[in-house]
């Protein structure tokens, strides 16, 4: 039972990350490695704001409130996306390289923001545990508190994204990833649309970093490693498993993809000879397996056609 709760908690929190990567990878068609830096960026900003939450500035900027801190994480992530976008669009640097440049720089920036490589926040209010939550949740539901809160945030993010993708701006974003030339002939600067997509994607990724950090109770500089692989795995699982389910929105598939992925990870880590430090290796191998499977499917489709 507890293991299922754990999977759902993790799956829901990482689903936010997957939604961000869905924007850049699937909608924008941009393999964005910035996320390995913007995910811990959200966590670093959270660590800084929480541990400095007594001072005068924090009272003015409301940054002592964990919910407002999430907004600051969003803003920080959007700046990271903006930087990658400008590097790619204005300086004509390849997509992968642009992301790597920002990600590399962010490593140092994250350390500066957080103050050290490991910052515990067990003694501070988080979105999961504060006096308000204590009074809302009855004793019997306390066990499901994290799942419930994470699910609300994930669904909220999903619904806002779904609504956005149906606006004129959202249409343009979808068009630029599919057919950049069309956007140009619509008399729109396709570069700016791409930058906007990177801003949105990284804002969401940074938010998920903040939320994960608040749930696990500490910031860790290495928490960004493999973010891209992990999020992308969820996106690919989700969009492939539920490909036939036309009634289901891609954003919904991605959320389920994240939960399935966490379940698979948990199963793999449960095998007796794996230890905690094998996590990233298991992540990589599982990702490879997913890729091989989904690619294999594609080839078959081609052969059938």
């Amino acid at each position: 039972m507890d293991i299922f709760i754990g999977i759902l908690e993790q799956g829901m929190i990482y689903a936010i990350l997957a939604l961000g990567i869905y924007i850049t990878y699937k909608i924008l068609n941009f393999p964005d490695l910035t996320v390995d830096g913007s995910f811990p960026l959200g966590a670093a900003v959270t660590a800084y704001l929480m541990t400095n939450s007594g001072d005068f500035v924090s009272v003015i900027t409301l940054s002592h409130n964990p919910y407002i801190i999430c907004v600051y994480a969003l803003i920080a992530g959007s700046i990271a996306g903006l930087v990658t976008g400008i590097i790619h669009v204005k300086f004509n640097i390849r997509d992968l390289i642009s992301g790597i440049i920002t990600m590399t720089g962010l490593y140092s920036i994250n350390l500066r923001i957080a103050g050290s490589a490991n910052v515990p926040i067990f003694n501070y209010d988080t979105i999961f545990s504060n006096s308000l939550m204590g009074s809302i949740f009855p004793e019997s539901l306390l066990k499901y508190k994290v799942i419930i809160i994470a699910t609300i945030i994930t669904l909220g993010t999903k619904i806002i994204l779904d609504l956005y993708l149906k606006t004129k701006s959202g249409f343009l974003l979808r068009a630029v990833g599919n057919n950049q030339v069309l956007v140009t002939t619509l008399a729109k600067d396709s570069g700016n649309v791409k930058i906007l997509g990177l801003v949105i994607g990284n804002a969401i990724v940074s938010l998920s970093g903040s939320i994960l950090m608040q749930q696990q109770g500490f910031f860790e500089i290495t928490m960004g490693t493999g973010t891209m692989v992990l999020g992308l795995a969820s996106v690919i699982i989700g969009t492939n498993v539920f490909k036939k389910a036309k009634f289901m929105k891609a954003t919904t598939s991605v959320i389920f993809g994240s939960i399935i992925y966490k379940a698979a990870m948990s199963a793999a880590m449960d095998i007796s000879f794996t230890k905690a430090s094998d996590m990233k290796l298991v992540t990589a191998i599982l990702f490879l397996v997913i890729l091989v499977f989904s690619e294999g499917k594609k080839k078959k489709v081609k052969a059938d056609a």
Binding site: Y164, K166, K168, V181, L182, T185
Partner: protein
């Protein structure tokens, strides 16, 4: 009026592959002209169009619309006055989006792509109307992804989308070349109808000499970056396809 003055274009400048395409190239396109451009592969037809649209930079010279120098205007800015249809139907549409979404996207050209609804419900009937005129069964496929349509259906949509909002110039680069003859005819008829309705100044590259003669009112033949024939009165002078072919 669209004008190209003293255009020079050298590809791969400073390398062993250096080759000059345009050397003091000049062209004046009057309002409401329908120019058909023919010529061998590699004669510079697409490059000429790319220079007009700003997708290809020139080494020197001037491009102007209605007397206004637009040489330094970016490609996307120039398209506020230009509608363009390419040879490949997929370039003119967004294959991941539905017919309705594509029409709405194009319908908003020139306006702000903001946070209001992408699909304007009150426009759906008028989209259906336009699609019905095509007689390609598109009016019943509003919620089908464009990627699932045939090449002809897509190209018809590309043409509608390129000409939906007020523009002055229509630029067509072999836009019927990838289609079977029957569908190509439909697309050409549609082209003519739109050009007349919207009074567009049109430049059409084609390999189909019959189309060039039938629909255009000025014929330009290109060879190695030069205009080797520029005929406005061919309808009167009754130039025939056979005569053109003999120079071709």
């Amino acid at each position: 009026m669209l004008e190209l003055k003293k255009i020079y274009k050298i590809f791969n400048k400073g390398t062993i592959h250096e080759s000059e395409l345009f050397h003091d190239f000049n062209l004046k396109v009057e309002k409401n002209e329908f120019i058909s451009i023919i010529g061998n592969n590699g004669s510079g037809k697409t490059s000429l169009i790319n220079i007009i649209c700003g997708s290809l930079e020139i080494d020197s010279g001037q491009v102007s619309f209605d007397g206004e120098d637009i040489t330094n205007k970016k490609e996307f800015q120039r398209y506020s006055k230009i509608g363009r249809v390419y040879q490949e139907p997929s370039i003119g549409t967004c294959t991941d989006m539905t017919v309705l979404e594509n029409m709405s996207l194009a319908d908003n050209k020139g306006k702000s792509y903001n946070l209001t609804r992408g699909i304007r419900k009150n426009r759906i009937e008028s989209y259906k109307e336009r699609l019905r005129e095509l007689d390609l069964d598109l009016e019943n496929k509003l919620n089908v992804k464009v990627g699932e349509l045939s090449g002809g259906q897509r190209q018809a949509m590309a043409l509608l989308m390129a000409t939906m909002t007020p523009i002055e110039y229509l630029i067509l680069d072999e836009h019927t070349a990838a289609l079977d003859p029957k569908v190509a005819d439909i697309i050409m008829k549609l082209t003519e109808k739109i050009v007349k309705e919207k009074k567009l100044t049109t430049i059409m590259v084609t390999h189909n000499i019959n189309y060039a003669l039938e629909y255009g009112n000025r014929l330009i033949m290109m060879n190695q970056g030069e205009i080797i024939l520029d005929e406005s009165d061919f309808k009167k002078n009754s130039i025939t396809a056979a005569e053109i072919l003999s120079i071709y």
